[in-house]
Symmetry: C2
Amino acid sequence: MKIGILGSGRMGGALGRSWAAAGHEVMFAYARRPAKLSALAAETGGRAGTVAEAAEWADAVLLAVHWTRVDEVLDAAGALAGKVVLTCCVPLDEADSGLVIGPDDSGAEALARMRPKALVAACFNTNPSESFAPVFAARGQGPAPQTLVYGDARAAVDVASALARDAGFEPLEAGGLSTGRFAEPFAMVTAVLAYGTPGGPALTYRFEKLRA
Amino acid sequence: MKIGILGSGRMGGALGRSWAAAGHEVMFAYARRPAKLSALAAETGGRAGTVAEAAEWADAVLLAVHWTRVDEVLDAAGALAGKVVLTCCVPLDEADSGLVIGPDDSGAEALARMRPKALVAACFNTNPSESFAPVFAARGQGPAPQTLVYGDARAAVDVASALARDAGFEPLEAGGLSTGRFAEPFAMVTAVLAYGTPGGPALTYRFEKLRA
């Protein structure tokens, strides 16, 4: 397949390398330093080009630019009519600190506002209830499934983490209550996967870190 | 620890069972059928009570009710001052179809509006770029890390899935472009974990389904 990389930075550069090594024809376009495009082309046996050239030539394009650059890149890419466009963009603000399209509040924060003297932590909201019994039954057998734990009160996070372990989960601390803005939508992803894909609803997850 | 279960449905019932079996004292409160509370108490060697009793008695309470019931349960629970409150609530609408606090648009949908004749699919936006090279290098060794793939155009989803495999990932289909409302915030969770926790940024994830 002919793949045009619209945005040859860390995301696009790495995926273009993988796809070239897997046997695809790859054209790299749009980098802060144009020399990077020819370097990637030389390294992978691929090509370097403009956004317009890559969009015209490719069967599929990968859009891998910062959200603040999307308009500029699409202008150069043209209509892309009938083209397959793969996007790995997240609509981040310029500081990469939040979403310009997305939530600015969460149930966790709302709950803390409703009970300001309570010590609130969130946990298990990203795990289907159907997973709890099998996870508990499988304690100690292999790596434990995880549950996100987050909160502003250290004492509450510690209790949540301890009770997560007692329920057979590995707690995964993920910041303060405002993480709910992202974790509650993540819970919707787990619901889509639990209830909308084959294999039953007892969905679990594990994040792992590889050596780079 | 004395744990009050505020909402003894599927979530609270299952977690209360696990915690009782792990040696905690558990009081079950708030169920559609009051008989369920006494049944859970008998099964686990725990107690049944009202929301007010559980909130008063417990060291920590688990809030595990549908979001539409939160006001009612908090009214009964009182101020909860100084109490640890663990919430597994997601602010779902009555139909469980969306979030009442959360996003109603996504970058993926915005992009498709910008290029209505293109065939758009999203992928890799929930994977840090630092993971791509080690994932590719580890192809064929053990279960592949996953990447969410979603889109409204079948052809684009198929291309995304094939290219995900070629990059060493297992594609995990998760619905249409509106999944971006949840997956883009999920990308923020992966960023918090990749860049905000020890072990380096080459974060991967796998969802697995257990037998219930």
